[in-house]
Symmetry: C2
Subunit: 333 residues, 2 copies
Amino acid sequence: MLGAMATLKDVAARAGVSRSAVSRTFTEGASVSADMRRRVQLAADELGYRPNALASSLTTGRTKLIGLVSNNFHNPIFLEVFDRFTRGLQQRGLRPLLVNLSDETDPAQSVRMMRDYSVDGVIVASSTLSPSFAQAFKDEGIPVVHSFGRFSEAPHVHVVGIDNVECGRMAARALIERGYMRIAFLGGPEEATSTQDRLDGFLEVASAAPGVRVTHTFARAYSFDAGREEMARLIDKGPADAYFCGDDVLSIGALSAVRTAGLDCPRDVAIIGLNDMEMARWENIALTTIHQPIAEIIEASVNLVVAMFDDSDVEPTATLFPCHIVERQTLVS
Amino acid sequence: MLGAMATLKDVAARAGVSRSAVSRTFTEGASVSADMRRRVQLAADELGYRPNALASSLTTGRTKLIGLVSNNFHNPIFLEVFDRFTRGLQQRGLRPLLVNLSDETDPAQSVRMMRDYSVDGVIVASSTLSPSFAQAFKDEGIPVVHSFGRFSEAPHVHVVGIDNVECGRMAARALIERGYMRIAFLGGPEEATSTQDRLDGFLEVASAAPGVRVTHTFARAYSFDAGREEMARLIDKGPADAYFCGDDVLSIGALSAVRTAGLDCPRDVAIIGLNDMEMARWENIALTTIHQPIAEIIEASVNLVVAMFDDSDVEPTATLFPCHIVERQTLVS
DNA sequence: TGACCGTTTGCAACCGGTTGCAATTTGCAC
DNA sequence: GTGCAAATTGCAACCGGTTGCAAACGGTCA
């Protein structure tokens, strides 16, 4: 169609004005007369001109690119997360540059990469990465928010998420209140910060409850298979009465193992999950679980990273959103 | 840490060489002596210098940015798709710029956006978008590949995917071979190209089979709820013996409805899906389904878009990968 | 008519790189 | 030591924009 892409210069020539005039026409709030703007627009339209966002970023220092870094590409809840993040960013005129932090890749490399592309900010979306990973971006001078990250009283970077320790407590209380006496935590991978925190809270409450026997084990991943395998193993050894599973996917795997073993879910082995992902509502699953307010977390994360554009040096904050239990059918009521 | 990011000029000054020398040191295959390279490297390391990818794109004309455009942010299989795309691109040194084509946003806007950011290419990952959408990128001179797109003998843009019509035939044959006499297609949204094609193939074979009664309906989306609702409705009216469901998610929803109605899945109502997503293997689902070779499709798509960098004007091709049925437990054997 | 002020416009330098070309250096054979 | 080709280096222009500054313009008021 067009031999080459029209540039500022072409438009200026065609409209018979200076390059600055063209630039100003396409810059919000610049000083241009209505007449000039009309002439430039006309020439621009004829040539199909659009400003090159990358070229202008050179002088303005803003790319409107946001790094979206995650290592959770196997947990269905993250599709929901990506959906919301991309929409939230797009609505604000920002573009997500997606980084898949698969285990092989060196994390430091992704930091360099983000710097190479001069992203305006980075959102680390992961409940398993250590706080130090997000910090690496800050050290490079890149605004960063850690979504679903580990809470800290005095975080080094902005953290938005839930209080995993409190969720652990909440789960323990829920099980104890319902009269379960042998309860257990079936966690995600031991090295995940979310697993550690949820366990801490769970044990804190459970071990303080008189007469309650509490145990815990870890699955090798937040995945269906890992949950199923671990629960199968536990059933073999004689299971507890009720389990707090590290997350919903794990819960669904565990649930499957329970049923395969010919046991009934709330009656023989009860389960409470965490996340309240879409699937938890499916009527063949009907998982009782702790709801994590994803939408709020993401909204807050995006707002935070945007706020940092203007004032990059605000004190890092930890924003926690409250969770609540959604009653379905995997716990006696 | 560093007041500001070090630039080429800073490094040149520090090393006492010309700016060109620094540039060449960081350019593959440029003419620099070993001695020079050492001096520059030293200065660069001391300053923590890294070349600005966007600035260089200005002269090289390559950004290594690839637009990844999709409107499927609710089908769990697309998490797998995004995972594979991001890894495939990253391995080749490319960065995915994710675009969420949610229904509200004007498609034309995403085309402009990609142009503004000078992406080297675009991958449209969607089985529901019309071919003309992908074409819009081509019209702007942007290399584009439509993954999971509709097959055409003479496509306007590169298409990589499966033969949906053939899948429809395959499903019909599978049901007929197994002796089901009243079969039906429970499709995705009627306007999705994949739904249309699968229906065509299904009807073609089914209506040619003597004594076989065939019907079809559409769910309002490729989603669990839509599948469950539609199947519940069908059960009310008296269901067919066996259903080809538009995809796995739909199948799982339908399966749920079948069980909720107190029916047994292969015996009373049989189901075959399409996709073979991870969940189809879950033992509480065990869906018999047509396997779609996602990995191959994505690998081929990425290769294709990369190949277009060098030669943008190759004749558009349609690459189809064969599918096969994976036997599990929702069809009699 | 001229002084004065606010707007609009263009010039030219700059953002952080790349690259063609010519000048300089190097290596090697004689 | 000389001659010549190949390898290395720097200069300067360029990629596609933005922006501070000063000149030009337009209008008002005396």
